[in-house]
Amino acid sequence: MIPLVMTDSDIGDINFGLFGGVVMYLLWGTMALLAARSLKRLHRTKIDKIGITLEELVRSTQPTSAEGTRWFTARRGLKSPMVIGFVVIAVILLLSYAGIRTYLWSVAEEGFNKFVQRGQWQGQWLRFLESGSDWVFMGACYFLLRARTKLQPTAESVLSVDRRGLVLFLRSFVDDERVRFLYSQRTLFDFSLEARLATHFFRTGPFIAVDSPNHTPAIGAARASLTNQEWQGTVVEWMRAARLIVLLAGLTQWIRWEMRQIVELRYSRKLIILMPELSGWKHRKRRLRSDIARKRFEVIRETFSGSPWEAGINEPCVPEKIRSLTFGPDGQVTAVCAKSRSRDCFQLAVLISEYLICKEQKNEAAHTAIGCHAVNAA
């Protein structure tokens, strides 16, 4: 029977290898059991004050199929020689990784301790190979990530094909997640919050954003490269046309400008303000975390002062817990809150906010229709 994973225990004693294999299978089995129970719980749990389950929430926010948008993004990018190049490098690195691990595996069968005893140099060489294989695997993940960034469609191509209502993503460029070598293994399958939002919103229409001036490779919204002269006008036009505006709360001058535009042009009812998730060391520093949240929340309060939502936004709350904000009728503000800072909580907060906005829009449309019927009848 094969071991489920080749770990350090592989390079060890034979009996320990057998014991390690059993333990490993038991561990994975237990984890699968716990995860299955968690999934069952998620199916049953209803969202606070809304009274619907997670499944109902997701289904209600995805009325259209994803197939209309996905195919062209992939097909266009796959022809690019750069993508092919990155994929080829990644495959070579993966095979090298597999080769190194197989060699180490064969040494383990021979008996690692005996091998080490033969000479210090050989022992060091094996250790070097073992740590080197991790770097090789990381390299493969990095090049796969780079290939994925090249598969990103541009906003122009998306807007020319997809005529459905767009979702505009506004953020400070400093909050953009970057492709980093050291984190590539972790970020290969779950790159960023923006990437998750892109997967979700591309199902219902174009999800677009302005590209940063230095064209940082990113995975997420379809980027539009705009000049200094044209970007403000284009963004305002997109705000008008957008079905939803997702704004990542920030501190910079231009994010404040964008937020002010939304308030002044009365697009707040389709606005979702998302508090940014903190990555790396910022995440671990409690004081810094709370400072960042408070400062960003202060900017939101400043921008909404004088608007119908001023009273709501100035109500006492804990900014560190806020994940997203929406602005309802009669000056009511809805904050989705969580202690957990996991990416899933941020994503869920956006889904709930989207659900609330869509529900209000449907209610308003129904009221308007009733009003029209009444006028016609009269």
Binding site: M1, I14, L33, A35, L39, D48, I50, C337, S342, L348
Partner: protein
Amino acid sequence: MTIDKPSPMLRQLHIDQFARPFNLIKALSFGVVIVWLKAFAGVMVDALTGNFIDAAYQLPFILALGFTAWVFWRSIDGISAVTDPLTRIAYRVLGAVCLIGTFGCRPCDHDPACDD
């Protein structure tokens, strides 16, 4: 000092009850995908270096784990896992792989002396 109290103008929805299940599902999904990638690379090397019997022996496991990894890759975040109809099947397949693996681990599998 800020407080977290209900107010008519600021409605607060708490979603903490979802955080822990999400973490567990995500950890398992991520782990299985990585394990499958590594195991698949191992089988490829076995096949390419002429070790066909070992590769063929491992193939059913790689396929079963591959299906699980594919489903988990599709729904690497907890929210997609809830809505994906294949998730439950994937959990069952993973459970079966673990069960067979646990009871199938015999000394001979790891002991080269058993070959004699």
